[in-house]
């Protein structure tokens, strides 16, 4: 299934199509697809097409927006030193907030687009949204990856998509906190728009979840941000490390979409 293929030739195009579904047996159902994608390993060296264009675009746009949101968010919480002169001469915090709000709305739209792509894209596009927690095989693979990171396994496995531990991290440390950030962020934005705005009609319920305590929602908005920061540290480290240590490409894959395997061992 994974043959060595020169880029751009007809064979590679065939591979792209081939990898829309992981294997013939796994076509039994949507859920079994998830397990198959998550624990799919390969043996021969070569390359596979994994991440489609829209997904890669989303990844980098999303990464950029998170940086913008963290920086502007920091300045909203701890504004820079006061500017001299009349208040009417400046709109510094107003502009910082505007950038934060705009970036937040772009992030939300991009995230919705990403969810849409999970439905229409290839199987790898679904991986971070659904964890096959019912699959014993998947958990064993998570454990295997943990051991590999704990220096208890001498050789890493090859995965076409995310390895199961990466998948677990993406779901719990990225998908969940980003969803919570969007909800709490929009709720706080709704307060600024006024309680009679449609924003508040749509997102006002979020305050109920946090005990009708707007101040607590601010606190959680900070906490979820830190979860995403922690994720970013681990994510970037793991990507760089895997790129060097494991048997497949990581970073270039998110640029080109192709995953390269470095050896042809089992």
């Amino acid at each position: 299934m994974v043959d060595i293929a020169a880029p751009g030739n007809a064979k590679a195009e065939a591979d792209k199509k081939e990898f829309r579904k992981p294997s013939a047996e796994a076509k039994a159902g949507f859920l079994s697809d998830i397990v198959a994608t998550s624990t799919e390993t390969v043996s021969p060296a070569g390359k596979v097409f994994v991440y489609e264009g829209p997904l890669r675009l989303w990844h980098w746009v999303n990464a950029g927006l998170i940086v913008v949101l963290c920086v502007t968010g920091y300045f909203i919480a701890k504004p820079p030193p006061s500017l001299p002169g009349e208040a009417s001469d400046h709109f510094l915090l107003g502009n910082i907030r505007m950038v934060h709000f705009a970036a937040g709305q772009l992030l939300a739209v991009a995230f919705l687009g990403r969810i849409y792509w999970a439905f229409v894209g290839n199987d790898h596009a679904r991986q971070i949204f659904l964890l096959p927690v019912w699959s014993g095989k998947w958990w064993r693979e998570v454990l295997f990856e943990l051991k590999w990171y704990g220096f208890l396994e001498p050789t890493p496995k090859k995965y076409i998509g995310h390895n199961p531990m990466a998948q677990l991290a993406m779901f719990t440390l990225f998908v969940v906190p980003v969803t919570l950030q969007i909800l709490t962020g929009f709720a706080l934005y709704a307060e600024g728009q006024g309680t009679d705005s449609w924003w508040f009609a749509v997102f006002g319920w979020v305050f109920g979840v946090f005990g009708d305590n707007s101040f607590a929602v601010h606190t959680y908005h900070h906490l979820f941000m830190w979860v995403i920061v922690v994720f970013s540290i681990v994510h970037i480290y793991a990507a760089v490390r895997e790129d060097i240590m494991s048997r497949q490409s990581l970073i270039s894959t998110m640029v080109s979409g192709w995953r390269y395997f470095k050896d042809d061992k089992e």
Binding site: L223, I233, M245
Partner: protein
Amino acid sequence: MAETFYELIRRQGVSRRSFMKFCSLTATSLGLAPAYASQIANAMESKPRTPVVWLNGLECTCCSESFIRSGHPLVSDVVLSMLSLDYSHVLMASAGYQAEEILHDIRAEHKGNYILAVEGNPPLNEGGMYCIVGGRPFVEQLKEMAADAKAIIAWGSCASNGCVQAAAPNPTKATPIHKVIRDKPIIKVPGCPPIAEVMTGVISYMLTFDRVPPLDRLGRPQMFYGQRIHDKCYRRPHFDAGQFAEEWDDDGSRKGYCLYKMGCRGPTTYNACSTVRWNGGVSFPIQSGHGCIGCSEEEFWDNGPFYDRLAKVNTPLGAEANADEIGTAAAGAVGVAVAAHVGLTALKRARDKSAANGAGAGPEGQ
């Protein structure tokens, strides 16, 4: 038929001119169109006075104190008469059995027609023994009087959301009214205390239109709690411009810059302080140079400290820290762990390499 409000104040020597002034002022403070002033006047001239029972539970009486200081000199007089305030610990002359007798009479004579105003809340632990009124737990009196009331006004933060006696760990299990009484319309008027004109405004509305004022999703009157202090704060331009007081005695503080960095709760507090203001419109905390402490908000004592924009929360390790301190510690720990992992990885690679170079010399694959 019971005496109307207008008849009563005329009998007390208030001129019609003063009466009309009160009606206009009330219409304005409720945000109503000028034509409503005559509707208010009409209601007060023609409707019998609504009996109000004012109960005091676990509280500090600051709501009563605020109420009796209603800004316009006439308003306090007027409202006290208008309401037919038949029972109030603070203001009534009778005491003991006489006073408790009044409650019984009102329940019998005005069944389903009186307004129950509750200041403070009932503590529920130990069967309510932490607050005894007339020899019985307050919660019993509250439930009894609520059963035949037309509507309930929850005065202040105690009645609306628990306030200081419900702050963690809440040893007496002080509980806001809406969690004890569930079958009556409850109007929450939070604040510690609420603004006097807000209190009289809510009551005037209910008397004039004979209905509960429009409420927000938490049950607070929209006309007073529809906007945040921050939305109408006169220092808001300094916030948008990025001009902040950093210390209580610095230049920014003297210039009247925004108090956001000093922990002002304006951005998260729904109240009318920045519009109605206090003491007859003289000032309000931010105007006096101190940030808002968010006294009308849920759990405001637990959202502390007052001088920081982030609340301290209990961490799993037991120490108190705010969200950013927790986050920085977590990110730092993960950073250190990653650095350690980099070190171990490099070490492992070096050993693997030397093992590979000296093939056959060492034990295979370690």
